[in-house]
Point group: C2
Chain length 231, copies 2
DNA sequence: ACCTGAACACCGTTCAAGT
DNA sequence: ACCTGAACACCGTTCAAGT
């Protein structure tokens, strides 16, 4: 009977790394909105006040967690194709990485992310645009536009995954969920008075239809084609 | 001395309209995140539980408030120009309306807005795209893309206005605030190791520069040019 | 220096009870 | 039907006090 024996891994001293890693895991498990300072502290077997030694507030913790999510993004390589193919791949990967961690992407809409991982992917994004012969001013503004596209697309994906988990926790086919989701929206559009909303009514099936991947690829093509149409 | 005299306008019976109008006013005054069910109730001189007679939860209240914000959007008329000029004007007006009510635009990123005012502007957006000869499938996907652009742009504007109010509550020039804002970001980019981030370093002044209006017009032109490049 | 118990000032939502 | 007091189960953040 020496000092109180414990089953947990020797109380693992607190660190910023441990806090941020735990936060990302909790975001995945509980969702962004449900991750409180108190829950993070609980998961680390400490009190909420202890977190404030490492982090100014919840927003700063989430900004750090955002950067950790971005760390998952593998930069495209030369064999992935020309600058444009690689740029599309890079954007898709950032969207996928953020979208898989619930609403962590919301950080990117209120902040300009400046963590090391965000800078890494931004550097590559700008490098590829420049390699494509886009002029410097356009590169800068395009990065802004891609940032908006990335954040909003990631949130869209996160919302879809959340709805999927809510209606079907056993991970059924994506088609099943897509159907449940657009069924409601389709009903809204179909029940609309056709004389007041003729265009929505006419396009109703197209508004809710379209597999996610093709839609996303189309949108990215629109932005890139538009970019090349400037200057 | 009859029944307790009151200075307030005879206790104004509760209604969904009054609740939503009050909520939008509070969003403007306190900011989206600070508007709680309790504060709305307080402003209406009732208890928070009373709100739940009219509204399922906070999210539903905010969705209704979002639609009220959209009500401010005046549709462009024939004299505003051709379909493209009118579309650009419409998008600008939606962004401006949402952006002037703090983060109410965040509703548009998690929901597909289906309130009557949202449907009104969506109908016009789709009608203009169709008038431009865009094919039906592209119209539907373009509406989605414009929706992302609108919501994220509005949040960007709201964040800028918030920062402006925080640093300068006396409504000084926009230039002053813009300087304060980009000063910090500029510093971040300039202090970056030029060998690790050569492109960011090279483009630093362009990344933070550029007046808001020109930047926004450029982004919208990119999307529209890209749209016309399809099919 | 690092950590934390306890407190402060809040939340959204529910529900039994009232009119 | 409409309203609400009171409660439940939470929040983020601070700070004096401890090691």
């Amino acid at each position: 009977m020496s000092a109180t024996p414990r089953t947990r891994p020797e109380k693992s001293t607190l660190s910023l790394d441990a806090i941020v890693t735990t936060t990302l895991a909790l975001v995945d498990e509980l969702g962004y909105a449900a991750v409180s300072m108190r829950r993070v502290a609980q998961a680390l077997e400490t009190g909420p006040a202890s977190l404030y030694v490492y982090v100014r507030d919840r927003h700063e913790l989430m900004s750090l967690t955002y950067d950790l999510a971005i760390a998952e993004v593998v930069l495209p390589v030369e064999s992935d194709g020309d600058w444009r193919a690689r740029l599309e791949l890079l954007v898709d990967r950032i969207v996928a990485a953020l979208g898989s961690h619930d609403d962590i992407a919301s950080i990117g809409l209120s902040d300009v992310p400046t963590g090391p991982q965000s800078l890494r992917v931004t550097e590559e994004l700008l490098r590829l645009l420049r390699a494509g012969g886009i002029d410097d001013a356009a590169c800068a503004w395009a990065a802004d536009l891609f940032g908006q596209y990335i954040s909003s697309s990631a949130l869209e994906i996160a919302a879809r995954l959340r709805a999927q988990r809510a209606t079907d926790p056993t991970h059924a086919s994506e088609a099943a969920m897509s159907a449940a989701m657009s069924a409601h929206l389709d009903a809204v559009y179909r029940d609309l008075p056709a004389d007041a909303y003729p265009t929505i009514h006419a396009l109703a099936p197209l508004l809710t239809g379209g597999e996610g991947g093709k839609r996303a690829a189309w949108k990215l093509r629109v932005i890139l084609d538009g970019l090349l149409a400037q200057g």
